[in-house]
């Protein structure tokens, strides 16, 4: 039974951001791999357009996520991972994660207040 305790958009955003962190981890670990192409994770666009439509609560997280090959310029060895870009993206993703978690927490706190807990 879904009590609707977690907003579906929050759930999808958390999954998407976590997956983006995984993609960043993979890109950084392949920083020196010849001919490696960096992967980007996209979900915001799909989530944004889905929020305008009803029935998002039943949607699976997977249907919102897509991966795309980075089109950054390649280095001499054919690798196109940019460490500075990945670091920036990772920091930003972490901040977004924290923000999303706070949104979920706000809901929990409201429910706790209703239940009369502390």
């Amino acid at each position: 039974m879904d009590l609707g305790l977690v907003n579906p958009a929050v759930r999808i955003a958390l999954d998407g951001l976590m997956l983006r962190q995984e993609a960043i981890a993979n890109n950084v670990s392949n920083m020196s791999t010849p001919n490696f192409t960096a992967t980007n994770v996209e979900f915001e666009g799909a989530l944004n357009s889905a929020l305008a439509m009803p029935g998002i609560g039943t949607a699976t997280t997977q249907s919102f996520m897509s991966t795309a090959a980075s089109e950054a310029p390649r280095k001499q060895d054919g690798n196109n991972v940019s460490l500075e870009e990945q670091t920036l993206l990772g920091t930003e993703t972490n901040l977004r994660l924290e923000l999303t978690l706070r949104a979920a927490e706000g809901r929990f706190n409201a429910i706790r207040t209703v239940l009369g807990g502390s």
Binding site: L14, M18, L19, Q21, E22, A23, I24, A25, N26, V28, S29, N30, M31, S32, T33, P34, F36, T39, V41, Q62, M65, S66, T67, L83, T87, G90, T91, N94, L97, E98, L101, A104, E105, F108
Partner: protein, 140 residues
């Protein structure tokens, strides 16, 4: 879940082995060998990306990959640098020995790259830890 740690550990492992190879090269930069034996071979580590999807990507239709695996490669020939050192104990009757074809400058540059790569992967682990900790605080 927690697959960031697995992915980053492959990266850390890759750069650790790179450092091992560099240590071998630098340690042997002055190793002299006889003409018959062949020079010390330069070692290096070459990475290739793991294409199997990370556990959390199964069923999503996309892949973010699962880190890096590597192979240790040695320079194919033991030719090295043939130098004329007739006074050396290992010299052949014509006075030649083999020194390894290892350039200390290249090794030092590679070492810095490996060191930074190692740190970068650990920084990802650190960030993932922060993210997981934030998630664990949820609902407290």
């Amino acid at each position: 879940m927690l697959s960031i740690f697995n992915i980053s550990s492959t990266g850390v492992n890759f750069y650790k082995n790179s450092l091992d190879a560099i240590a071998h090269n630098v340690a042997n930069v002055n190793t002299v060998r006889t003409m018959e034996e062949g020079a010390v071979r330069r070692q290096s580590v070459v990475g290739s990306s793991n294409t199997s999807p990370a556990p959390s990507m199964v069923g999503t239709g996309g892949t973010v990959g699962a880190g890096v695996s590597f192979t240790m490669v040695q320079s194919a020939s033991g030719e090295g640098l043939v130098t004329y050192e007739p006074e050396h104990v290992l010299a052949n009757e014509d006075g030649y020995v083999r020194r390894p074809d290892i350039d200390l400058t290249t090794e030092m540059a590679d070492m810095i790259i490996a060191q930074r790569g190692y740190q970068a992967n650990l920084a990802v682990v650190q960030r993932a830890t922060e993210a997981y900790q934030a998630a664990l605080r949820l609902g407290r």
